[in-house]
Amino acid sequence: MEPNSITLINSHDLALVAPAIVLGVSALIVLLVDLFSMKLGRSVLPLLTLGGLGLALIVHVTTGYRGAEFEIAFDGCLRFDRMTYIAQIVILSLTLFLTLVSPLYLIRRRIPRGEYYVLIMFAALAMMVLSASNELLTLFINLELLSFCLYILTGIEQGNLRSTEAAFKYFTIGSYAAAFLLFGMTMVYGATGATHFDEIRVILASGSLGGALGGNSLFLAGGFALMLVGFGFKLTLAPFHMYAPDVYAGAPTPVAGLIATGSKVAAVTAFFAIFELMIAWGDLPAGVYYALYGVVVLSIIFGNLGALVQPNIKRLLAYSGVSHSGYFMIPLLAVMTSPELMDKAELAVTYYLLAYGVMTVLAFGVATTLGPEGERDIDRYAGLARRSPVLAAAMALALLSMTGVPITVGFVGKFRLFAVAVDAGLYPLAIFALLASVASAYYYLRVVVKMYMEEPPAEAEPIPLEGSNALALLAGVVCIFLFAVLPALVV
């Protein structure tokens, strides 16, 4: 930054982070209401949370980024572009969805509601800023804020051993991943002498590395590799995915939904910014490319193989998330071989953020609505179509979309991801991903077959549907079709 660009906070910057400020203030209001209104106020909490999230969404759509190529705020610490804009809308909508389906679940499981809603909102705040991060420290601090909220939320069900175990596992492995990420950042900083992405990009493009490590490119490559590992944990990319099934299965279902969708959407957006730095460096060693290639192939293989044998729906969704993380990285590989595809890759990833978020959160929404039954074995889903046609239809639609059946967002999303790989000439990868996607139909459709073609258990009763849950599920179903038929609404 030049010396004469020193400014204090200004209205342009504030307008860009206004949704995050709205979220933060409403979270504090929810906290205070929970503290000072003993009994009557508890039922207001979800309404306040919905209000805060809704207001943030409105503020985001009306005042945020205005369609310029990108906007910079806070001395280059934050960067708002098309991908960030969409990702933030997706994050807010996912959080809104999960808040809508949570209230009954929380009462049934006796989860402290005040803390739950406050942490959900702080997590959403962290995700929003994380997806706009344009500086190493801003990125790390927001990733940690997000992680801490999720660790506590995972273990928020006091007295439930599985929830506590999941929280402990998530915390230890998350800290481990954070250490990798931080060490990678140190090395990148050491090699370039800058923490702002804009400065790092200029330094890398110029080819002459500054920094304390005397421009040693080995540190730079090592730094990027370590950051890939750190993000690999957060994105549950194989071989760093082992904790995901246990955490998803142990965490309260809406929290598992938030971990699976919101935090992944934010992390993918943040990782894409790091990836742009890697691309800016002309001498990026081929090893990084092969490492990412290996991670993608392993994620798709392990994700699909793992999901084949899971008896528990949340573990199945966890493994399916692993393979979807692999799909997310395919356009990145394509850009590494042919950099001119950057724009197309960015669009494909942005669209898939929305597609993946919608279909996964819908599946978790159905599992949350089913309550204790939804978290148990897939066998409990037998005959669900008789007991609750709406829930069965929503679940079936989410799973079909994950498989990639046409006229769903999943199909359009996967098509765009694979098309980038084909454009780059990565035919083996595209064919492999396509075959894996076809194979995934086996375990997704297994659940659908159970719901529609098997008899419900003898003692099973029809399942009532709450108004707020029905509203949320309906919105999810509409989104799955709407954005598939009119992808131009997104990007």
Partner: protein, 136 residues
């Protein structure tokens, strides 16, 4: 390889020292007499005579104090650095490189710190209300 030659001596010392220690302790256990008695199994001199079992539940009330300490500690750390630069005497406002006046700088600093302390105070109120300051 020539540059490693001076280190040969160091390597020899390492081998000799390790060997001396291992050989002596091995000789001690092999040749030395071993007569056990209860007094030998007790804590040595200043130690307490152990009672009860090790598998007891230890109250961890102290963690709450540690957690609250963190809040106030962070507050102090930020306040100190903030107080040093608050007046802005280190900044050359007249040079034209700076896009604001000294008064604006101070107002901004005051406002920023007020927001920070405000959020921190909410955390304290939360801890207080939840009984974090009670030791029982």
């Amino acid at each position: 390889m020539e540059h490693l030659i001076p280190y040969i001596a160091i390597g020899m010392i390492l081998v000799f020292a390790a060997g001396f220690a291992v050989v002596n302790s091995l000789l001690g256990t092999l040749i030395g007499p071993t007569k056990d008695n209860p007094a030998k199994r007790l804590a040595y001199e200043s130690g307490m005579v152990p009672t009860g079992e090790a598998n007891v539940r230890i109250p961890i009330k102290f963690y709450m104090v540690g957690l609250l300490f963190l809040i106030f500690d962070i507050e102090t750390i930020f306040l100190l650095a903030w107080a040093v630069v608050f007046k802005g005497n280190q900044i050359d406002f007249a040079s034209g490189n700076v896009g604001f006046t000294q008064t604006q700088f101070q107002h901004y600093g005051f406002f920023a710190m007020a927001v920070f302390i405000g959020v921190l105070m909410l955390a304290e109120i939360y801890a207080w209300k939840k009984g974090g300051f009670e030791w029982s």
